[in-house]
């Protein structure tokens, strides 16, 4: 059978299995159908819910403006899929082309898409993590449980880790009028993703909104009362915080354990795939029938030195899923590269934060528009003399311009005047990123080196 005929047969009666029934999985499935895939489609998800949207969980849901059960993702089209929800995948047999499920079933595939995403990194001390009142926030159930607890008006909430999720949670708590302490190991919030210069702005923003922000400290222990409810947290500076709700917001762990021993290039950094979303096996050879998309993927990006990037970004999940779906049904000459420009947004303390490119690669930053003091600005990141990323605080409408600068590798600092350039925008300064070998809450973009089969990373919890 020649290639065209087998592709035609795949489109007509092939079996596609998608593991991971969240944003990337859903959009991939929809794209497959849109492109005329008429075969069988199986959606496997470990949660019992149909695909839902996560960004509202740390915003509208915590504010009580929308129930966690109202976050279902809008559907672009009917899917005609077999849904295996609430049943995690537990293994992969690449040779036989089968996915094993927790209930013992095996699902055969002709094409497999892995979009298992990430989960919240739990509090490292299991017994303390079990205390009533200790939460993480990643899933719909997490969101519902936390929103319920916040509605009971706890006397104080402690957020451990001031990355984007932790900061948004703190913001929502303040908006609800709750007392909040934020404990962050680094010198300021958001430093992992945006560096110390912008982190300092985020710190001011938090303090101005009444957050008891403690930076440069670690939480060393959580203490429960006799009934097993959390009552206090002990900090590395010797102080303690009395609290009845603790939210552990220490970044994410990639859901790749189920692939251990499968021979796929999957590890703690994610699953390595080529720019066409095809997974690498452990030998560094690309597979033909296994694709990866979303938070769990890491793939080389031409614009950023072909380094493997892991992007925990909403838009990346959508774009990579669409590319993967296209490529699954295409001959090699018709495949498309996933060349999505990293971009994310956050909304906290009344400020819209948006970023393009890879700020974490940046060594310097220049404020090209507006002012840090006003908290309305565009910060441009430079790396080896070129523009590599940009962040906007309440200035998002300008970002398409900076995206073009990154795409066309414009020199840094950008050699031209802009509207609203202030004195502080005349000279770049050190962007002040922490040493990447020191884990904090984790940035949303991770540079994960060049090796497609890198399994060596270990995360050493600081606590």
């Amino acid at each position: 059978m020649n290639g065209d005929a087998s592709l035609e047969q795949l489109r007509r009666e092939g079996r596609v299995v998608i593991v991971g029934a969240s944003l990337a999985g859903l959009r991939a499935a929809e794209t497959l159908r849109e492109k005329g895939f008429a075969g069988s489609l199986t959606m496997i998800g470990d949660e019992p819910y149909e695909p839902y949207d996560r960004p509202p969980l740390s915003k509208q849901v915590l504010l009580g403006m929308a129930g966690a059960d109202r976050t279902a993702l809008p559907r672009r089209r009917a899917l005609d899929a077999t849904w295996r929800l609430g049943v995690p995948a537990t293994g992969l047999d690449m040779a036989a082309g089968r996915v094993r499920l927790a209930d013992g079933d095996e699902v055969p595939y002709d094409r497999l898409l892995i979009a298992t995403g990430v989960r919240a990194r739990p509090w490292p001390h299991a017994a303390e993590a079990e205390l009533d009142g200790v939460f993480v926030l990643r899933t719909r159930d997490d969101g519902a449980a936390l929103a319920r607890r916040l509605a009971e008006r706890p006397k104080r909430v402690l957020v451990i880790g001031a990355g984007f999720t932790g900061s948004e949670i703190a913001s929502a708590c303040r908006e609800r009028g709750l007392a909040v302490t934020v404990a962050e190991r680094a010198a300021a919030p958001l430093v992992g993703a945006l560096g110390g210069v912008v982190g300092a702005v985020a710190a001011e923003l938090q303090r101005e909104h009444g957050v008891d922000l403690r930076c440069g400290v670690m939480v060393t222990a959580l203490e429960g009362d006799a009934t097993g409810r959390v009552r206090a947290a002990h900090l590395s500076d010797g102080s303690s915080v009395e609290t009845d709700v603790v939210i552990v917001s220490l970044g994410a762990t990639r859901n790749t354990e189920w692939l251990a021993g499968s021979g796929l290039g999957a590890g703690p950094r994610g699953i390595a795939c080529d720019a066409g979303c095809r997974a690498f096996d452990i030998r560094g050879i690309v597979t033909d029938d296994i694709y990866v998309a979303g938070d769990v993927a890491r793939s080389p990006h031409a614009l950023f030195g072909y380094q493997f990037l892991s992007l925990e970004h909403w838009g990346n999940a959508v774009s990579q899923a669409e590319t993967a779906a296209h490529n699954m049904l295409s001959a090699s000459s018709d495949r498309l590269p996933h060349l999505w420009m990293p971009a994310f947004w956050s909304s906290q303390f009344g400020v819209n934060i948006k970023s393009v490119g890879v700020p974490t690669l940046g060594t310097e930053i220049v404020v090209s528009q507006g002012s840090l003091a006003d908290r309305r600005f565009v910060g441009v990141y430079g790396y080896q003399g070129r523009v590599i990323g940009a962040v906007a605080f309440d200035h998002a409408r300008w970002l398409p311009f900076y995206q073009e600068l990154i795409e066309t590798t414009v020199p840094f600092p950008p050699p031209f005047p802009t509207v609203d350039r202030r004195p502080e925008g005349r000279r770049p300064v050190d962007a002040d990123f922490p040493d990447p070998s020191v884990p904090t809450h984790g940035p949303t973009v991770t540079l994960s080196g060049y090796s497609p089969a890198d399994r060596r990373m270990t995360f050493t919890p600081a606590h």
Partner: protein, 411 residues
């Protein structure tokens, strides 16, 4: 071809169908004639320039040597400070932010949607008031009065003053659309007079609202207590004038162009009659196909910038021809086809970037309600003249009259 492209864009003879000229324009990335403005008509280049922080909207950055044949009509004889349309950040941002506070999300998410019932009533009243269904001038009888009434209600102009407001608005709008046969000095005087009277009236109304605020936008602007404080009376006057002028002519043209386009595409009109929900994609496609603002003539670079090898010098006058970008075949399939089923519809009709249309949510709703209701109530409507007579204005392009006939008006 003997006439220059620039001349052709401005030539009234081409008003009814400027699109073949735009097609010519798109053949060069940047069109420039001696002394004239630099004109850009391709989609991606326009979109880039709309987001480019090297481009200023502030007339003070325009070199004195820059010649712009449209400059004179921009803001003649106004004693008011420039509105945020003609300012750069941070002043632009501050004024727009303050104006948005009583208008849109996050602080006023219900303002526009809350006007839905009122808009429906105004539309119904205007259609009820149509005289002879055998000869309707849709502009005079419908499109023209509609947005002025809406802005009065939005600002909180008392009902009994609306008639006066209409008269001033008409005179000012006429000055934006010079009639070549009229005496320019006389017209200038009239328009100046109308601006003065409108300004005095608004200043008085602002005073009243400061003392006794209502829930209208002017009251909220006059008594704002947000982080930016309240506007000065001059800023407030300038802003109110901007809302009136920018929100008026544009909406008139959107509704009129809409009905004209629907009458030229009777299958779409029929579908809209059967399903008023089609009004949403119809209006989006309309903003692409016949945008009420054809070009943005008031930008200038803060430094020399290069586009595809052409240098646009600092301080030069730069025109972005949105209506041309909207018909760019590099961006839209079959761009000259009116197709409300188009799914890929990121048009430039409302601009983009920080100066993107402030009133967009209101304009969309006005046009959707108006077109759906006209489609439903006019029985067997047809054009009496095609093309209809157009206004002079090449920027805010639209018919001066739209003579139509119908067999009757449904209740």
């Amino acid at each position: 071809m003997t006439q220059s492209l620039l001349h052709q864009i401005l030539d009234y003879a081409n008003r009814a169908d400027p699109y073949p000229i735009y097609e010519e324009l798109r053949k060069t990335p940047v069109h420039h004639e001696e002394d004239g403005p630099y004109v850009v008509g391709t989609y991606y280049e326009i979109r880039s320039l709309l987001h480019d922080p090297r481009i200023s909207s502030d007339a003070r950055n325009l070199a004195s040597t820059a010649r712009d044949p449209l400059a004179e009509s921009a803001q003649e004889g106004s004693a008011l400070p420039p509105s945020f349309l003609r300012l750069d950040p941070p002043e632009h941002d501050r004024l727009r932010r303050m104006t948005n506070r009583p208008f849109g999300p996050p602080h006023s998410p219900h303002r526009v949607d809350g006007m839905r019932g009122e808009l429906r009533d105004i539309v119904a009243g205007l259609i009820d008031g149509i005289g002879d269904p055998g000869r309707i001038d849709l502009v005079e009888e419908f499109s023209y009065p509609f947005p002025v009434t809406v802005i009065c209600r939005l600002l909180g102009v008392p009902r009994e003053d609306e008639a006066r407001f209409h008269t001033w608005a008409d005179t000012i709008a006429a000055s934006l659309d010079p009639d070549p046969d009229a005496d320019p000095t006389e017209r200038g005087k009239e328009s100046h007079e109308a601006r003065m009277q409108l300004g005095m009236y608004l200043a008085g109304l602002i005073e009243e609202r400061r003392k006794k605020p209502g829930d209208d936008m002017l009251s909220e602007l006059a008594t704002a207590k947000g982080p930016d404080g309240a506007m000065t009376t001059m800023e407030l006057l300038s802003t109110a004038a901007l809302l009136l002028i920018a929100g008026h002519e544009t909406t008139v043209n959107l509704v009129t162009n809409g009905m004209l386009t629907l009458l030229r595409n009777p299958d779409v009109l029929q579908r809209l009659r059967a399903d008023p929900r089609l009004a949403v994609p119809v209006v989006e496609e309309l903003l692409r196909f016949e945008p009420p603002v054809q070009l943005v003539p008031q930008r200038t670079p803060l430094a020399d910038i290069e586009i595809h090898g052409v240098t646009i010098p600092k301080g030069a006058s730069l025109w972005l021809v949105l209506a041309s970008g909207n018909r760019d075949p590099q961006r839209f399939e079959n761009p000259d086809r009116f197709d409300p089923d188009r799914r890929d519809i990121q048009h430039l009709g409302l601009g983009s970037g920080i100066h993107s249309c402030f009133g967009a949510p209101l304009a969309r709703l006005e046009a959707q309600l108006a077109l759906a209701e006209l489609a439903r109530r006019l029985e067997n409507p047809r054009l009496l003249e095609d093309p209809p007579p157009y206004r002079q204005n090449a920027v805010l392009r639209g018919p001066r009259h739209l003579p139509i006939a119908c067999d009757g008006i449904r209740p």
